[in-house]
């Protein structure tokens, strides 16, 4: 537990603290951190060009999430656990780049080929070992993917797979029911991590979730629940020379202000989830804050089975009556781009679609043409402990009131909001800004989940059905060439924006405060930060 005061006074015995307590300049910037002044790197990572990586050092990260279970096969896939799984396990491919071009990069698979009809994938495995010295074989891959693609597993991304074959210990052949260009990305998600079959069968899922063994760059050295998780380098990692770090400490610090204090005092090197309202004040103190695009969407989720919302004119009226620019500025500090589609901003984003301008007159006009010319009442359920939700809800309430739509805000605890949403017991709801994220850097997941999945979960509990949108989604999901895929997804975004099944707000970015001596640190689009190439200078 470091306590390095930036002015170098070190840590005195706290028993001497009783004497002479004079509070001075509590609110002024007297406590400036010793890191060199620098500005934000919007969209960039922390790579300093031309410097050679230094080996060794302990990276300390203060996180707002606590890992729960580290077994990819029983993945609840919460952010806390994902970040650790990414370091401990490997997948067949990975998304190593932070930009939205999202090219899959070989990981455990050294190469792969796709058959011309798009229905057979052949992966060649590299010579890699798990951290316990056992080699990674095709059997392990088959076991892992078979369990992950089981229809009853909670990770639905591998649904196109119909069979897995292992002709030899270094080759895995996947057969698909229909072509699925998105599958290669789904294979890079941590729920598709490769685990040692014998060990998992021996220990059982519960034990494995607390003592994971993978082939990734790090091993889990110790885990104190609710407190700290430590990583050490994997001696058998297949990328020789990596990782540069000799240890990683992930501290669970749930309070926003405390995380910020930790980075300001230099007790940690990185603090994640910096509140939107604090980014600027941290920068003003000379602390670098990374603001990077994410695959999250922040929308007002509408229950289309609630009578007024089933009507297209009503939904469009609400979209025109939502002051999205004002929300982006006041709630998100101007750091979040305004959405011009109802989907995440990923590889096939269509920049040509226009967002709804804020136009109360037009909204009233539309409402007048609908069965609800005088407005109606609607409830908006939110997680009361989340500040952006509270702020957004009140801004929307004030604005929709002007067209006669009376919003009653209902605050619940997180569990209740989630359950009510999943059970369809809501009229409209807001989720916390990074809850609604795509696990893949391509549009497949949301195209399928929002428009092609009614039978399974009412299109992500929205109760929205649109045959035209569904056709376009399926076309994109099964397209045999890139051009057709892009065309389908482009049109899908146009059509669904016009139909407004939800009210799009902003794409909330990731924000992390990073100390000046940390290099190579960056988020990837879908939410984690790979650590194998991160290094610390002195």
């Amino acid at each position: 537990m470091k306590s390095m005061h930036p002015r170098g006074t070190g840590r005195r015995a706290f028993s001497a603290a009783i004497a002479g307590l004079l509070a001075s300049c509590l609110f002024a910037a007297c406590g400036t951190n010793g890191t060199p002044a620098s500005t934000t790197h919007p969209g960039g990572s922390t790579n300093a060009s031309g410097e050679d990586p230094v080996r060794g050092g302990t990276l300390t990260i203060a996180r707002s999430y606590d890992p729960q279970s580290l077994n990819p096969l029983t993945c609840a896939c919460d952010n806390g656990s994902l970040q650790v799984m990414v370091e401990v396990f490997d997948t067949l491919v990975s998304y190593a780049t932070p930009d939205a071009s999202a090219t899959p990069v070989p990981d455990l698979a050294s190469s792969w080929t796709v058959s011309p009809d798009g229905r057979t994938y052949t992966f060649r495995l590299r010579a890699a070992m798990f951290s316990n010295g056992q080699p990674v074989t095709a059997q392990d891959v088959r076991y892992s993917l078979a369990r992950a693609s089981d229809p009853v597993s909670s990770y639905g991304g591998l649904y196109p797979i119909s069979s897995i074959a292992t002709p030899d210990p270094r080759t895995v052949v996947l057969k698909l029911k229909t072509p699925a260009p998105g599958l290669i990305y789904a294979l890079g998600f941590p729920a598709a991590s490769i685990v040692p079959e014998a060990l998992v069968k021996n220990e059982g899922d519960a034990a494995f979730s607390q003592h994971p063994v993978g082939s990734g760059p790090f091993v889990m050295r110790s885990w104190l629940h609710g407190q700290e998780l430590d990583l050490a380098p994997n001696p058998h990692y297949w990328q020789t020379g990596l990782p540069y770090l000799s240890a990683v400490r992930m501290l669970y610090v749930p309070n926003d202000n405390t995380r910020i204090l930790n980075i300001r005092t230099g007790a940690v090197d990185i603090a994640d989830e910096i509140p939107f309202s604090q980014v600027k004040s941290l920068e003003d103190e000379g602390i670098r804050v990374l603001v990077q695009p994410s695959s999250a969407i922040d929308t007002v989720i509408l229950n289309n089975s609630f009578a007024p919302l089933g009507n297209l004119a009503v939904r469009r009226a609400l979209a025109y009556a939502t002051p999205v620019q004002a929300i982006a500025k006041s709630v998100f500090g101007g750091l979040a781009p305004v959405m011009n589609t109802v989907m995440p901003k990923l590889k096939y984003w269509n920049p040509a679609v226009r967002p709804y301008p804020y136009d109360l007159a037009r909204a009233k006009q539309l409402l007048a043409q609908s069965p609800y010319p005088n407005g109606f009442a609607i409830t908006l359920s939110i997680d009361g402990s989340d500040t952006p939700s509270l702020q957004t809800a009140q801004i929307i309430q004030a604005s929709w009131a002007q067209i006669g739509v009376e919003v009653k805000i209902q605050e619940y605890d997180y569990g209740t909001v989630q359950s009510r949403w999943a059970a369809g017991q809501y009229e409209s709801t807001l989720l916390v800004p990074d809850a609604d994220t795509s696990d893949l850097p391509v549009d497949d997941e949301y195209a399928h989940g929002l428009f092609d999945n009614y039978a399974a979960d009412r299109n992500l509990y929205s109760y929205y059905q649109n045959p035209a949108a569904q056709k376009l989604a399926v076309a994109g999901l099964t397209a045999s060439n890139e051009a057709a895929r892009r065309a389908a997804f482009d049109k899908l975004q146009e059509v669904t924006m016009a139909a407004a099944p939800s009210i799009p707000l902003v794409w909330a970015p990731f924000r992390a405060a990073v100390a000046g001596n940390v290099h190579g640190f960056s988020y990837v689009l879908v939410g984690w930060y790979p650590l194998q190439k991160v290094w610390l200078s002195h």
Partner: protein, 297 residues
């Protein structure tokens, strides 16, 4: 005269003149305390009434002037949605004081009566009531509040009911503990031999003595309950937005503590002022109570 008799109300006349003087000085000090306390509360309530007319609306958003520092225009600055913080703080006065008062004293009433009965009766009734207090005290409050809110809907009523349901146990414990010492007192046994009913003994003779620690604690408890409502707002349970309520305002400003500090701090000052006022009233009453009892002939 037993060497161990205490200052409990035995109905006997006090003996020394200097004691009388000391007690009457104490009485006027008690009255002063009550007066100052009432003045502080009146100040806040008056400001609230004036503010209702003189200040901007507590729920009017103004997204062009969010997070404005305190100035002549906005004495407490504006919050993250541009609302005047002073106006919101004062508008919450009646709600917070009302809920805190109601929740606390309902608990006091139930608790002291049950506790006194328990301590007096002993045996089965005592065991039953004390084990019930164990249950109530051990029970995780947040589960109780979430369940109550599930039944009656979100809002501050659920929190208030929860506070009463959880709070009476404290007073029962206090009252019973005092009663344990008290029931051995000679005057109590004397009253029984005189043929007074149990009810009369408890209410008329025991209660005034055992209620003192409860009353003293109840005033702090009122302040605690206001703060409790605040920490429940922190978890997202309680008053529904945009209704102003001290706890919601203060915990809502938590994120801005290092930058727009006025959102949490200045309403906190108002809560402190109200807290001091309440405590002064409580202490003053306790002093007067004690004095009156001691002077009874």
């Amino acid at each position: 005269m037993s060497a161990f008799s205490s200052s409990y109300d035995t109905g006997r006349r006090s003996r020394s003149r200097s004691l009388t003087l000391r007690l009457s000085r104490s009485a006027s000090a008690g009255e002063r305390s009550i007066a100052v306390g009432l003045a502080l509360l009146a100040l806040v309530l008056l400001a609230s009434a004036v503010g209702h007319f003189a200040l901007p609306s507590p729920t009017a958003l103004d997204l062009t002037s969010t997070l404005a520092a305190p100035s002549a225009h906005h004495l407490f600055g504006t919050d993250d949605l541009g609302r005047d913080v002073l106006s919101r703080t004062l508008a919450a006065t009646w709600l917070d004081l009302g809920v805190a008062f109601g929740a606390t004293y309902a608990g006091v009433l139930i608790g002291v009566l049950l506790g006194a009965t328990a301590g007096y009766a002993g045996g089965w009734p005592e065991r039953l009531i004390m084990r019930l207090t164990d249950l109530v005290i051990a029970f995780p409050f947040i589960v109780l509040v979430i369940a109550i809110i599930a039944v009656i809907g979100p809002g501050v009523e659920g929190v208030a009911i929860g506070l009463v349901a959880a709070g009476w146990a404290f007073y029962a414990r206090f009252a019973r503990a005092e009663m344990l010492s008290l029931r051995e007192r000679e005057f109590m046994q004397a009253a029984r031999t005189l043929g007074l009913s149990h009810r009369r003994v408890i209410l008329r003779h025991a209660l005034p003595n055992i209620i003192r620690p409860s009353l003293t604690y109840s005033v702090s408890d009122m302040v605690l309950n206001i703060l409790y409502i605040a920490s429940l707002s922190y978890l997202g349970l309680g008053v529904q937005p945009p209704t102003p309520e001290w706890g919601a305002i203060i915990s809502g400003g938590q994120q801005y503590l290092l930058s727009a500090w006025w959102i949490s701090t200045l309403p906190g000052v108002v809560v402190v002022v109200v807290g001091v006022g309440l405590v002064l009233i409580g202490d003053g009453l306790a002093d007067r109570f004690r004095v009156r009892r001691e002077l009874v002939r």
